[in-house]
């Protein structure tokens, strides 16, 4: 297969590009997404939420080439045999590219690692992890203009389908490329610059540019409903290419009306009566979870 822009052998198909043209295609796609949704501008202080996986490392690399003020933040949930491996990759990457990295942990911030919480309580790991990670990312991104996450097009298509299948319009309304844009004190604007990049494209960029990651699955991932949706979507995509992109395009088309009907722009955000951080409820999910994990 030849590159569609030159005579060299293609290294990626769908679209067919050689290494040089694939890199241009991928970086242009990220640039277009940043511009289309007004994600970040010159001089912005950008904090990238990183795990050490391919998505976050590729995002960190692409953004640090474009913006001078990029730093990295990672969360250590305390998952034995998993997070040590990804953090090792992350430390080495940040050292190589001269990027400042901060790591904050569940144990230091909430008093217990995820492993300990799961051994003590009957609770879904992804629920605890999701709530606490969101809290820490927002807490430690104060003073930055935006916080960028490595969510790619596959992640978004999966989230849209999961919320459709669960009939959760309020959660569906949150799947946009930018969130936290209301002028609420203490809520950092969150952006997803890889919103239109497929997981396969991200992986190809990672390999072609020597961004070394190590495949390791979170030991709790098998419990996630997302896994089933992901496999089904990949099967459909294989026989009907472009399916994931059409799902995301459909969502973008209706997201304005959906947010309106779900009251997401109605300015209902107040402050948690316990911690004082932004919350739509009197007590935020993080404080409720902390109370639950501390209870006997």
């Amino acid at each position: 297969m030849r590159c569609q822009d030159c005579d060299r052998t293609a290294v990626f198909s769908g679209p067919a590009y050689c290494k040089e043209h694939f890199n241009s295609y991928f970086e242009s796609k990220v640039d277009d997404t940043l511009a289309r949704f007004g994600m970040a501008g010159e001089g912005d202080r950008i904090l990238v939420a990183v795990s050490g996986g391919k998505d976050s490392l590729v995002l960190l690399r692409v953004l640090s080439r474009k913006f001078p003020n990029v730093e990295a933040l990672s969360v250590d949930e305390g998952i034995a045999g998993y997070r040590e491996v990804t953090h090792e990759v992350l430390r080495s990457f940040c050292q190589e590219w001269g990027i400042t990295l901060r790591i904050v942990g569940f144990k230091e911030e909430f008093g217990k690692t995820l492993d300990v919480i799961l051994s003590e309580k009957q609770v879904k790991p992804c629920t605890v992890c999701g709530i606490f990670r969101r809290t820490l990312l927002n807490r430690h991104s104060q003073g930055y203009d935006v916080i960028a996450t490595g969510h790619n097009m596959d992640d978004t298509a999966q989230a849209i389908m999961m919320n459709l299948l669960k009939n959760s319009p309020s959660l569906l309304a949150r799947q946009g490329p930018v969130s936290g844009i209301r002028s609420v004190a203490g809520l950092t604007k969150r952006i997803k610059p890889l919103y239109y990049c497929s997981e396969k494209e991200v992986m190809a960029y990672s390999i072609l540019n020597g961004i070394v990651t190590k495949f390791i699955e979170c030991p709790n991932v098998s419990e996630a409903y997302r896994l089933k949706v992901r496999d089904q979507l990949n099967r459909i995509e294989a026989s009907r290419p472009g399916t994931k992109r059409r799902i995301v395009d459909w969502f973008i088309g209706i997201s304005g009306r959906l947010k309106e009907s779900e009251g997401k722009d109605a300015g209902r955000i107040g402050s948690c009566s316990v911690c004082g951080e932004p919350s739509a409820n009197a007590v935020c999910s993080s404080c409720k979870m902390q109370e639950f994990i501390s209870s006997p």
């Binding site: 297969m1 290294v11 996986g53 390791i216 294989a238």
Partner: protein, 85 residues
């Protein structure tokens, strides 16, 4: 004549028992297999029951497209694309 026959035998053995196999590393599950195969990347993935949406195939340092030709004696890695949670 004896040496000629000896080297011809060695070459035959090499072709039949060494080069007739492809070394394949499958990242997900950390598996190494040997497979007799001549055909495209896409055909090999079908044979192994792997969805091409979920992997990238690498030979040495080169990414291969689905129509790339593979043959016995090749050594390839099938890398997982899906996130690890």
């Amino acid at each position: 004549l004896f040496l000629d026959l000896f080297f011809a035998d060695v070459q035959l053995l090499n072709e039949q028992f060494l080069l007739l196999w492809m070394d394949i590393f499958i990242e997900r599950g950390d598996r190494k297999i040997r497979q007799e195969y001549n055909g495209t990347v896409d055909g090999l993935l079908r044979l192994l029951g792997i969805n091409h949406e979920e992997v990238l195939v690498v030979k040495g340092d080169t990414l291969l497209t689905e129509d790339s030709a593979l043959e016995d004696g090749d050594s390839i890695r099938i890398l997982s694309v899906v996130s690890g949670g």
